[in-house]
Amino acid sequence: MGRLSVDLCGITLDNPVIPASGTFGYGYEFAEIYDINVLGTFSFKGTTKDPRFGNPTPRIAECNAGMINAVGLQNPGVEKVISEELPKLKKCFNKKVMANVSGFAVEDYAYTCEKLDKEEQVGWLEVNVSCPNVHGGGMSFGTNPDAAAEVTAAVKKVTTKPVIIKLSPNVTDIVSIAKACEDAGADGISLINTLLGMRIDLKTKKPVIANKMGGFSGSAIFPVAVRMVYQVANAVNIPVVGMGGVSNAEDVIELMLAGATAVEVGAANLIDPCVCRDIINDLPSVMDKYGINNLSEIIGGAK
């Protein structure tokens, strides 16, 4: 075990840096500019039972220190992800990958997870009960402890792989939802998904995004992520994967001190495609600066 390595639900990661779902495709766009095998792992584009085009455009708006997206879970559907995307992914990435799954009904989640469970390269299932951009689905499961628990239990029945439930920050009590998932058998919790946001164009006097609202991400949301990771990590006994506005090695260390076992990097990949590689390269010297020998020792260190 190197000084950057961590254990995530029984699988050793060379380092805790994980590109977040929806900002890294299936990896091969990024493999054009750096060897993505340096990553701990990555979470691939959110996958649903059926193919989806997603929302109309414009889907993107800029904010101070961040952006809003309303892509709406565009993906080719689980069958095509398995037959077309995973073989391409395998050519550029030789580690276990995190499969991100979304759905519109409990049965959808179970269906998709059961299919992905059979894929050897899938190490973890990250179950997204927190997409803010899809009406009647996604986030509605993650804003209610009972619904989140129901999805968790249904997925656990169809897989032996570790199940990580990805939670929404758009809730009153994140701790009760995280605990409900833990009680239902979740092996880990990841958070935070995007914050629901909106921009209005002063010239047209209309919402910038066709879907009107979307998920706010980027460095502006980092303090919210630190707070929620801290709250959840102190309330559950399963690993927490932290994310939300992470853009450098210092942010990774801060989220780990808050209680994250591993850290996902989202929007920053879209601006600086090599940011995850750079963070991994920077971590040893930043650890030296703050007197940290091994990253695994600092998890939850801030009390």
């Binding site: 495709g25 766009e29 220190a65 601006i271």
Partner: protein, 245 residues
């Protein structure tokens, strides 16, 4: 795709709102006309996509219109300053389909990418006609540059202050062509889709997140399936276009 630092050689004003920036740097990933670059600017979260006007001997030329915070910042930059640029983005125009007499139609700030295209088509021995559309005489740029390449240039102005009065579609009526290439505002693209007699290629614009195919922020529906404007476009062939409304 490549991420690298470019140094500004010059940044000159062409009209009241349009500027031309020349930069030196690694242009090895820029392989065809119609591609774009994505520029990181101080204090702005998202990069700004700008079409490539020309690229030769390590010099990248961009012509851009000041429309917001990003381009305002670019307009104030001077020689010697540096920019973080992603290059080699987008598919670009395919010159193999042009026939021997292609026509290039550009509207306003859609004109710049056609310059490198005209250069390539002329180098391939084709007889190139160019139609440039602007609102008014004061907004015209690049007319002389296309003439210097040896293209047959006509200009249309909406107010009739220069050239043909009307739109590029009016100027197109007198031109004999085998194929067309276009870039410009969507109403112009739609009008050309209706009046053109041959096949052709259209360059589209959309709000982008990343510019290199990762975020799915700029997807569109086409006859041949879903495409990302940034990665599978920005150039689409006439036969695959599905207009949304």
């Amino acid at each position: 795709m490549k991420q690298s630092i470019f140094k500004i050689i010059e940044n000159t004003q062409l009209t009241s709102t349009v500027f031309k920036m020349k930069l030196s740097g690694d242009v090895s990933e820029i392989t065809s006309p119609g591609q774009f670059v994505n520029i990181k600017l101080e204090g702005l979260y998202l990069r700004r996509p700008i079409s490539v006007c020309d690229c030769e001997n390590g010099v990248l030329t961009l012509i851009y219109k000041v429309v917001g915070k990003g381009t305002e910042q670019m307009a104030k930059m001077t020689a010697g300053e540096e920019l973080d640029v992603l290059t080699g983005l987008g598919n670009g125009y395919n010159t193999a389909l042009s026939g021997d007499k292609p026509v290039l139609l550009g509207g306003g700030v859609g004109v710049p990418p056609l310059y490198m295209l005209a250069k390539k088509l002329i180098a391939e021995g084709k007889k190139v006609s160019v139609v440039l559309g602007f609102n008014t005489k004061d907004e015209i740029f690049c007319e002389e540059d296309f003439k210097a390449l040896g293209a047959d240039v006509s200009v249309a102005t909406a107010d009739g202050s220069y050239g043909v009065k009307g739109f590029v579609t009016d100027a197109l009526k007198d031109i004999d062509y085998t194929y067309f290439y276009t870039c410009g505002p969507e109403p112009m693209l739609k009008a050309l889709y209706k009046v053109t007699a041959t096949s052709g290629q259209f360059s589209f614009e959309e709000r982008m997140g990343c510019g290199f195919g990762a975020c799915m922020g700029c997807s569109c529906k086409t006859i041949t399936g879903y495409k990302r404007i940034c990665k599978d476009g920005p150039v689409l062939e006439k036969e695959e276009i599905l207009w949304e409304d």
